[in-house]
């Protein structure tokens, strides 16, 4: 059931609608009582500097395959009914959406825990890099340990 949905993991330039993602997630099961989501967005201000936009580079094929693995692992590990992962690439302006994770389960605890785990693992495992474009120049973001 959870594997029917070919659009559950995506890397794309366009923005996405959370209402539509949630509706697609809900469509996978009538037993879903809890849905936890995480939305990462571009801040206008980072490390003391104004940021006008963020551009992304990705090792696309591997990023998609890692995101698919993460989804499958989360479904098994937390007993989810379904999960979705969407990451934007290209250029994203301040305030815009970057990444979206949704985890649906019968009850709230596994949904909430899976969502937290998924975004932490995505940041560790998925080959995508972020560059901040500021009035003072561009710089690749160095992740904190």
């Amino acid at each position: 059931m959870a594997d029917n949905n070919k659009n559950a993991v995506r890397i794309q330039h366009e923005d996405f609608s959370q209402d539509e993602e949630i509706k697609a997630l809900q469509a996978s099961s009538k037993r879903m009582g809890g849905i936890a989501t995480f939305l990462g967005c571009a801040r206008d201000f980072s490390e003391g500097r104004d940021v006008s936009e963020i551009s992304f580079d990705a090792y696309g094929s591997m990023a998609l395959s890692e995101m698919n693995k993460l989804r499958a692992e989360a479904i098994t590990k937390f007993g989810l009914l379904d999960a979705r992962l969407v990451h934007r690439i290209g250029t994203v302006k301040g305030g815009e959406n970057i990444v979206f994770i949704a985890a649906g389960a019968e009850h709230r605890a596994p949904a909430l825990e899976a969502c937290h785990w998924l975004i932490d693992e995505l940041k560790q495992r998925v080959p995508i890099w972020k560059k901040e474009i500021t009035p003072q120049g561009d710089s690749w973001v160095t992740p904190h340990p």
Binding site: G40, A58, Y59, K123, P127, W129, K131
Partner: protein
């Protein structure tokens, strides 16, 4: 030929997204790494991960096969 790819800050330091490196029998990941590191020391300062044919690889002594795709990557900053 080995296809070597670079992304993000590593690509910026190498000055390109892709290089071709001559394959030779017995070539290991660490041989390829040493050769490229000598040519692009600044780029390899920030390399933390290696992928071979789209999979994370920790074993630097693993043998490469001809036509492999190898990617030397800095820490990810997606999400």
């Amino acid at each position: 030929m080995i296809k070597v790819l670079f992304f993000g800050p590593v690509a910026e330091r190498v000055g390109t997204n892709e290089l071709k490196v001559e394959f030779h029998a017995g070539m290991r990941v660490q041989d390829l790494r040493a050769q490229l590191q000598a040519q692009h020391p600044a780029a390899f300062e920030i390399v933390c991960f290696v992928a071979v044919n789209g999979e994370h690889t920790l074993d630097m002594s693993a043998a490469l096969t001809d036509n492999s795709e190898v990617v030397f990557m800095s820490k990810f900053s997606g999400g």
